[in-house]
């Protein structure tokens, strides 16, 4: 993960990879992602900067098809990366928020297949920060899309639900996702919905304060225990724990807590506050 405490330009390299998505029930299906190395991982590399910083990115395409690199919310042309090619650009971020980066080619098909991550521009330095990239898959859709068949977008019925490419209990092994901290800490949770479904992010134990919402700015400074995260939208949620404990956070569409309809293998993780 890239961080920036004092520098104004963050330099990094991102790789577009194809691979086999390792589902929670040990099946695999075709997927893709933006990773920090040439090795496919379902975890799209997150970035964190502050307002005024710049991200100097080299993007390397390990695929035999062309791909694009787009940052939603920035008024810039998309970066086109030829098959097995390389492109680079420097991106400036003036305001705080969460920006989704993704491949927009083929009606965002590759974004659906998993190639979408986030860039978090934090309004201030928190005591702790975590990244939640919500994404769901239909195994049959992934297989069809990888074969060149366009899915019927209106009939989306996913069977695997992930945060940062993992499902419960494996989400708890991801240190960028599992919220840890102490009472009184100011903790930022950077949320991006890179999938197609609406998710309801429900917190046990604490209410969160909405610091940023790309969909509804009117919700800033609302205190919520169940936050709606729409497809393509992002949010910064702040918790300041008032008590210690282990508390779940999960999608309250409880079908999204399943993997291939097995419970409890979907969008859930357990916060640990000391």
């Amino acid at each position: 993960m890239s961080t920036n405490l004092t520098a104004t330009i963050v330099t990094d390299t991102l790789y577009f990879n194809r691979g086999g998505f390792p589902a929670v029930d040990s099946t695999t299906f075709p997927a893709c992602a933006w990773n920090s190395s040439t090795l496919y991982s379902p975890l799209n590399q997150p970035f964190q900067l502050f307002p005024g910083d710049q991200l100097a990115l080299t993007v390397i395409n390990t695929d035999t098809a062309a791909h694009s690199f787009v940052i939603k919310g920035l008024a810039i042309p998309s970066l086109l990366i030829a098959a097995l090619g390389t492109a680079n650009d420097t991106f400036s971020f003036a305001t705080a928020g969460i920006y989704i980066y993704y491949d927009s080619l083929d009606a965002s098909l590759y974004s659906y297949l998993g190639a979408a991550g986030m860039i978090a521009i934090e309004p201030k330095q928190p005591d702790g920060r975590f990244f939640w990239n919500f994404h769901e898959f239909s195994k049959q859709w992934n297989i069809a899309a990888d074969s060149g068949i366009t899915p019927g977008w209106n009939n989306f019925d996913p069977d695997y639900f992930t945060v940062n490419g993992s499902s419960y209990p494996f989400i708890d092994d991801d240190s960028t996702a599992k919220v840890t901290g102490a009472t009184g800490d100011t903790i930022f949770i950077h949320c991006a919905n890179t999938g197609l479904s609406v998710h309801s992010v429900h917190f046990h134990g604490y209410h969160c304060r909405v610091v940023f919402s790309s969909k509804d700015s009117i919700q800033v400074n609302w205190y919520k225990d169940s936050f709606p995260l729409w497809p393509g939208e992002t949010a910064i949620l702040e918790i300041v724990p008032d008590k210690p404990g282990l508390f779940p956070v999960h999608d309250h569409n409880l079908m999204a807590q399943t993997g291939n309809r097995y419970y409890n293998h979907g969008m859930m993780l357990i916060m640990k506050i000391q």
Partner: protein
């Protein structure tokens, strides 16, 4: 000396401002019961009941005041199934959170007392958090209403006042889950559920014609402030569309006052979310609210339920508006025209009105001076839908529901 006495008096007043008490309740957990739906279909359900013999879905609404302690005696009689009770949104400590992975499980024939402190007025939910995708669908949920301190009829302690409050708890039921799954199976994690295709869309456990029940339908008077508590325990998104003539204002979400209240007649709730809305009716009318149920994966609207909201008279006045004067409307449903018989309604300077379910005037026709008690109204140009048709004079108004096909 006088200053010390004054400070002592003020201190005593401050600590005695609102007495906080322990509110006791009983919840019996069951996994063998039945619920009759609006069409007569009988579903197997799980649930929470106030006693051993009763298992309503939803479970009983728990009510207390801000600052109270809820002491819930719970007993599980479920033929081997474990259950929990999670107080959704109340931010209780881990040991009372009701999640079996992190706090506790109440096994068959075990009883315990759950102690929750209601720290903030608002609308909350309680539900089983054991195999929750199954147990919630099967009916193990209910509502918690925490009133303002002292039981004041205000949105929050010190907040805006209301005259009456109403609760709508939305959910869905898929009959295949209820009819095919064994009563005592799947009490552990790592089980597979069927695809979710609900066919029943509920408000307080009721739907369709059942929504005329007083537990859902709203009756109020002009000028009366109605506080509507909206809550979603289903797996679908709800879109609640209220008549704009009721001047709805959103005040609270998830038990927390909004920084700025929001006027708005359309409220979306994702699963687990709650909203509290102040209604201030300004005209008497038989309104209808819509509650839509949308699939979270593709936003397809699977069902729309309609809830009557009847506004009559004026607070403190004799209810002369509600006195039925026998108007009749036929045919109903109608298509190109409809007849209205005004009974003994005074027709001097009367107007026949057709309004949509939001109360918006669609068509008005002066009642002909020379007409008999019957009068034909042309409906051409009015789209199909649900409307109200009636007659209004200086002193009286009476309406009937009209379906135009």
């Amino acid at each position: 000396m006088k200053t010390a006495i004054l400070f002592s008096a003020l201190f005593l007043l401050s600590i005695c401002g609102f007495s906080q008490q322990t509110v006791k309740d009983t919840i019996i957990m069951r996994n063998i019961s039945a619920k009759t739906m609006w069409d007569g279909h009988v579903m197997n359900v799980y649930g929470f009941g106030p006693d051993i013999g009763t298992v309503p879905v939803p479970g009983p609404t728990l009510i207390c005041n801000e600052g109270d302690t809820l002491n819930i005696f719970t007993l599980n009689i479920s033929q081997g199934s474990g259950h929990t009770i999670h107080p959704h949104g109340m931010d209780v400590p881990q040991n009372m959170d009701g999640v079996h992975e992190t706090s506790f499980e109440i096994t068959h024939m075990m009883d315990t007392n759950l102690i929750w402190v209601a720290t903030q007025a608002g609308t909350y939910i309680y539900h089983c958090h054991m195999a929750s995708v199954l147990h919630v669908q099967m009916g193990m949920y209910g509502s918690i209403i925490v009133r303002a301190a002292g039981g004041a009829k205000t949105a929050w302690t010190g907040g805006p006042a209301f005259d009456k409050d109403c609760l709508w708890l939305m959910s869905e039921m898929d009959s295949y889950w209820h009819d095919s799954l064994p009563g005592s199976a799947f009490w552990e994690d790592d089980f597979q559920v069927p695809p979710y295709n609900p066919g029943y869309f509920l408000i307080n456990g009721l739907s369709k014609a059942q929504l005329n029940d007083a537990s859902v339908a709203i009756s109020a008077k002009v000028g009366e402030k109605v506080y509507l508590r909206l809550s979603n325990i289903g797996y679908y998104m709800n879109e609640v569309i209220l008549p704009s003539s009721l001047s709805p204002v959103i005040l609270v979400s998830d038990g927390r006052p909004l920084p700025v209240s929001i006027p708005g007649d359309t409220i979306r709730l994702v699963p687990g979310e709650r909203y509290e809305v102040m209604l201030t009716p300004s005209q008497e009318f038989p309104f209808t609210a819509q509650v839509r149920y949308l699939d979270m994966n593709n936003l397809e609207v699977h069902e729309v339920e309609y809830v009557p909201i009847t506004i009559s008279g004026v607070i403190g006045r004799e209810e002369s508006f509600s006195e039925k004067r026998g108007i009749k409307v036929w045919p109903n449903p109608a298509s190109e025209s409809v007849k209205i018989d005004v009974g003994n309604f005074p027709t001097n300077e009367a107007i026949v009105e057709i309004r949509d379910i939001s109360g918006i005037l669609i068509q008005s026709t002066p009642f002909p001076m020379a007409a008999t008690r019957e009068f034909m109204i042309d409906l051409s140009g009015i789209p199909s839908g649900i409307y109200s048709i009636g007659i209004r004079s200086r002193s009286f108004a009476e309406f009937r529901k009209l379906i135009i096909q």
